[in-house]
């Protein structure tokens, strides 16, 4: 068991003890258990899953951020993250649609990256909702 806190620039999303944690690290998914070695990693767009002390598995969709682990405390800084029931499927589908359209018209590399990022974010949300339906 270790302490997990998930914070976004707006608010604290979760703060409690958990049994295990899986995050979308910059180099691939990472599993974290108690007494993990000190770690700092980036997070990609993906799914954060943790098992709370009641062995219940909880999933969130994130659009990336950072994780810091030390002294049996894991802190996740996310740009944005939503619990499954917070995801608005129709909105995500609209986003996906818009991002795909944007991809076809963008010229600069920065715009392209941004469009890809928002496409991935939308896809991630949709996939997650479908996965747990």
């Amino acid at each position: 068991m270790f302490k997990l806190s998930i914070v976004s620039p707006e608010r604290t999303l979760f703060e409690d003890n958990v049994e295990s944690l899986i995050v979308p690290g910059g180099e691939g998914y990472l599993g974290i258990l108690s007494h993990h070695a000190p770690l700092i990693s980036t997070l990609k767009v993906g799914e954060i899953t943790f098992r709370d002390t009641g062995k219940k598995e909880i999933s969130m969709a994130t659009s990336g951020g950072f994780i810091e682990v030390s002294d049996n405390v894991a802190s996740i800084l996310v740009d944005t993250a939503e619990f499954l029931d917070e995801i608005d499927l129709s909105r995500a589908e609209n986003e996906l649609h818009r991002a795909e359209e944007l991809l076809n018209v963008t010229v600069t590399a920065a715009d392209h990256d941004r469009a890809i990022h928002s496409r991935d974010k939308a896809r991630n949300r949709i996939n997650l909702v479908k996965k747990y339906k």
Binding site: S5, V7, S8, P9, E10, R11, T12, G25, G26, E27, L30, A37, P38, L39, I40, S41, T42, G64, G65, F66, E68, S70, S75, L77, D79
Partner: protein, 285 residues
């Protein structure tokens, strides 16, 4: 001497004004609470972020990032945070006065302005200083979208070399009645010092440099967000005070007017009585 009717009209006007100021005071109080909450809630994020920054910069001796780059200052950008709406006492006047003071300093000819808030725009539109961009429409609420846009824009200015030094002129919320007005450096960012923290042997994934590259924009974002949150809290705090003063003044005014009204009314009655009495006296005579 105003007639009782006139006075009654004025009393009604003052009462309705005081109702408005009272309502504005309540709204400002609610918004202030929200803004303060915002500051509180975003604190864990920015603190953690700072910690990670410190850890990385102490882990890898040479931290280099475009945001740290100090260079000869040819163009300075000053971001001025004002409110969209007025009725907040001296809040905007103070900010603008300070901005003008800085703009008039010797060597300030290279300053360009980025304005957040409509009041700043209203003033500086009529002045000769160059304005790069205006952000408005916040309506006294925190808006992360706007924060992102402002941050991206400023970063772009700095990285592309259009600006060599970016500063923020904004208020720091201290308490309900006081705030501190100050100018803070935004870009280049001073690399955080990690002398006082215990450095641990962290595993970095991917390498520290890559983490840094993704971390810095997020860090810049939190700086702007904090500045805006502070500015909003100060705005609502000042507005609340200004409106409660206005309400009190209006109440005092109603009191004096009521007194005047009663006197005038009594005077009129006395006059009428006198007329009746002297009239009947004359008849009897």
């Amino acid at each position: 001497m105003p007639t009782p009717r006139d006075i009654r009209k004025r009393i009604r006007a003052v009462v309705s004004t005081s109702q408005i100021t009272k309502a504005m005071q309540m709204v400002a109080a609610a918004r202030l609470r929200k803004a303060q909450q915002m500051v509180e809630q975003s604190r864990p994020y920015s603190e953690k972020m700072r910690l990670i920054l410190e850890q990385i910069s102490s882990a890898s001796a040479e931290v280099e990032h475009p945001f740290f780059q100090k260079r000869e200052v040819k163009v300075r950008v000053m971001v001025v945070f004002t409110s969209d709406r007025g009725m907040c006492g001296s809040f905007n006047t103070n900010v603008i006065r300070q901005a003008v003071r800085i703009l008039k300093e010797p060597g300030a000819e290279n300053i360009k302005l980025v304005l957040v808030g409509k009041k700043g725009e209203d003033y500086f539109r009529r002045q000769s200083w160059p304005i790069l961009k205006v952000y408005k429409g916040l309506q006294g609420r925190m808006n992360l979208e706007v924060v992102r846009n402002v941050t991206d824009y400023l970063i772009n200015l700095f990285v592309s070399g259009e600006a060599d030094h970016v500063q923020l002129l904004c208020t720091r919320f201290k308490s309900m009645v006081s705030y501190k007005l100050g100018i803070a450096d935004f870009l280049p960012i001073n690399p955080p010092k990690a002398d006082h923290v215990v450095t641990r042997q962290y595993i970095f994934e991917p390498d520290p440099k890559k983490i840094f590259d993704t971390l810095m924009p997020a860090y810049a974002l939190t700086i702007i967000q904090m500045a805006l949150a502070d500015s909003l809290a100060s705005e609502h705090g000042t507005r609340m005070i200004a409106m409660s003063l206005a309400t009190r003044n209006a109440e005092e005014m109603v009191d004096t007017l009521t007194l005047q009204y009663n006197k005038a009314r009594q005077g009129a009655i006395t006059k009428e009585l006198l007329e009746v009495v002297s009239g009947s006296e004359a008849l009897r005579g």
